[in-house]
C-alpha cells in the first residue's frame, strides 16, 4: 500500500470512527453540531429564569431583544389565543437554516405557527391554545435543527409589550 492509499485509508477510518462516535454521542446526549448538551441546557436555564445572558457573546439585554414578527400565520395563531414565544437563535444566517428550524419545529403538534426571521435572528412560535413547550424542549429542538438557542421569551415579553 503506497503512502497515498495509506493516507486515504487513515482519513476514511477517522471519518467513520468520528461518525460512529457522533452517533453514540447524539444518542446519549442529544447534542451535536459541536455544542455540548451541558452548554446548551445551562444556557437555556439562564434564558428561562434570568433572560439575561446569551451564549457566545449574544446580546440579550431586554432593550435589544427582537420581538415577535407578525406573519399571517403568526397573527392567526395569536388570534386563536396561543402562547407567543420568541427565541434568539445563534448561527441562523441563511434560508437553509430557516428551513431546518421550520421543519423541526413545524412537525410538533404543540406548535400552531412558526417563522424564522433572518433579520432579527429569532425563532417565532405560537403554541396551540392550552399547549405547553418548555424552554429545554425548544433548546433541544434547535440542536436537532443544527443550531443553538441563546434566549427564550414568552407572552408579553415575546410580543414586546412588557412594561
Amino acid at each position: 500500500m503506497n503512502s497515498k492509499k495509506l493516507f486515504a485509508s487513515a482519513l476514511l477510518s477517522f471519518l467513520l470512527s468520528q461518525t460512529l462516535a457522533a452517533q453514540e454521542h447524539d444518542h446519549h446526549s442529544h447534542a451535536g453540531s459541536g455544542a455540548t448538551h451541558q452548554d446548551h441546557l445551562t444556557h437555556s436555564d439562564h434564558a428561562d429564569h434570568h433572560n439575561d445572558e446569551g451564549d457566545a457573546g449574544a446580546d440579550t439585554s431586554n432593550s435589544t431583544h427582537p420581538v415577535m414578527t407578525h406573519t399571517d400565520a403568526i397573527s392567526d395563531a395569536l388570534a386563536e389565543g396561543g402562547e407567543p414565544i420568541v427565541a434568539d437563535v445563534l448561527g441562523v444566517v441563511c434560508d437553509f437554516c430557516a428551513l431546518a428550524m421550520n421543519k423541526i419545529f413545524g412537525q410538533r403538534e404543540e406548535i400552531a405557527a412558526v417563522y424564522v426571521d433572518l433579520d432579527t435572528k429569532a425563532l417565532n412560535l405560537v403554541l396551540i391554545p392550552g399547549a405547553t413547550l418548555s424552554d429545554e424542549t425548544i433548546a433541544e429542538l434547535a440542536v436537532q435543527a443544527g443550531y443553538r438557542v441563546a434566549a427564550v421569551r414568552r407572552g408579553e415579553q415575546a410580543l414586546g409589550s412588557a412594561t
Partner: protein, 214 residues
C-alpha cells in the same frame, strides 16, 4: 414528476467538486446535491440521522479519465461555531466504493476511496469556504484537489426570499495541466432550493450545482 427527477439525476452527467451548502442537514432531513466541475460530475443523496453527521450514496463521473465511482459517503460535522451574526463549520467527508470504466474504458473495476475536509464561514452577506479531497481509484488513478471560495450577497433576503450570492472559486489540482483555475459564479437560494451557475474562465467549462433539501 418522474421526468423532473430523472432530469435531476442526469444533470451530473452533463456537467461536474465544490463546497456544498450544509453537507449535514437537520435531524431527519434528506438532501440531494448535484455538483459539476471541470473534470467531474456527481450526485449525492444523503440523510442526516443526527445534527453532527450525515450518510449518503454518491455517484461521480470523471469525464476526463472515463471512469465512474459509486460510493457510500459519510460526512461528519467536526465543529460548528455560532454567534448571532455568523456561523462557521468544519466538516470531514469521505467515501468508499467501486470505480468502474465508462465509455469504452476497459480497465474493469477497482475499489475506490476518498477523503478530505470542508470548512465554511458565513454571515448574511459574506461567505468564505474551503474544500479538499484526495481520491484513490486504484488503477484508474488518484487525484488531489482543493478549492477556496469567497462570496458576498448584494442584498440580505429574509426567510423565503430569493437570496443571491456572487462568488469566486479558485481551485488547485496539482497534477493537471491547468493546475489553478478560476470560476466566478452566482448562487441562488430560495427555500429548499439552491442553484449555482458559473463558468471556469481558465479551461472554459461551465459549472452547475444544484441542491434540494427535503
Amino acid at each position: 414528476m418522474r421526468a423532473f427527477l430523472a432530469g435531476l439525476l442526469l444533470l451530473p452527467l452533463l456537467f461536474s467538486a465544490h463546497t456544498p451548502a450544509r453537507p449535514v442537514s437537520y435531524t431527519g432531513g434528506w438532501t440531494f446535491i448535484e455538483e459539476s466541475d471541470r473534470q467531474m460530475s456527481s450526485a449525492l443523496v444523503h440523510y442526516t440521522p443526527a445534527p453532527s453527521w450525515s450518510i449518503g450514496l454518491r455517484t461521480e463521473v470523471n469525464r476526463e479519465s472515463e471512469y465512474a465511482v459509486a460510493s457510500i459517503h459519510p460526512t461528519f460535522l467536526a465543529k460548528r461555531w455560532f454567534d448571532r451574526d455568523y456561523q462557521g463549520n468544519l466538516y470531514i467527508h469521505g467515501g468508499i466504493g467501486r470505480a468502474s470504466g465508462i465509455r469504452g474504458n476497459t480497465l474493469g473495476e477497482e475499489t475506490a476511496m476518498y477523503g478530505g475536509i470542508m470548512a465554511d464561514w458565513e454571515t448574511r452577506s459574506l461567505f468564505a469556504g474551503y474544500r479538499s479531497r484526495y481520491l484513490d481509484a486504484g488503477h484508474f488513478g488518484d487525484q488531489f484537489m482543493h478549492a477556496a471560495r469567497l462570496g458576498f450577497a448584494p442584498y440580505e433576503g429574509d426567510s423565503g426570499d430569493l437570496h443571491t450570492w456572487l462568488m469566486l472559486e479558485i481551485d488547485h489540482r496539482p497534477e493537471d495541466e491547468d493546475a489553478v483555475t478560476a470560476t466566478p459564479l452566482v448562487r441562488l437560494f430560495k427555500g429548499p432550493l439552491l442553484l449555482e451557475m458559473g463558468y471556469n474562465l481558465t479551461v472554459n467549462q461551465p459549472l452547475l450545482n444544484f441542491t434540494y433539501r427535503f
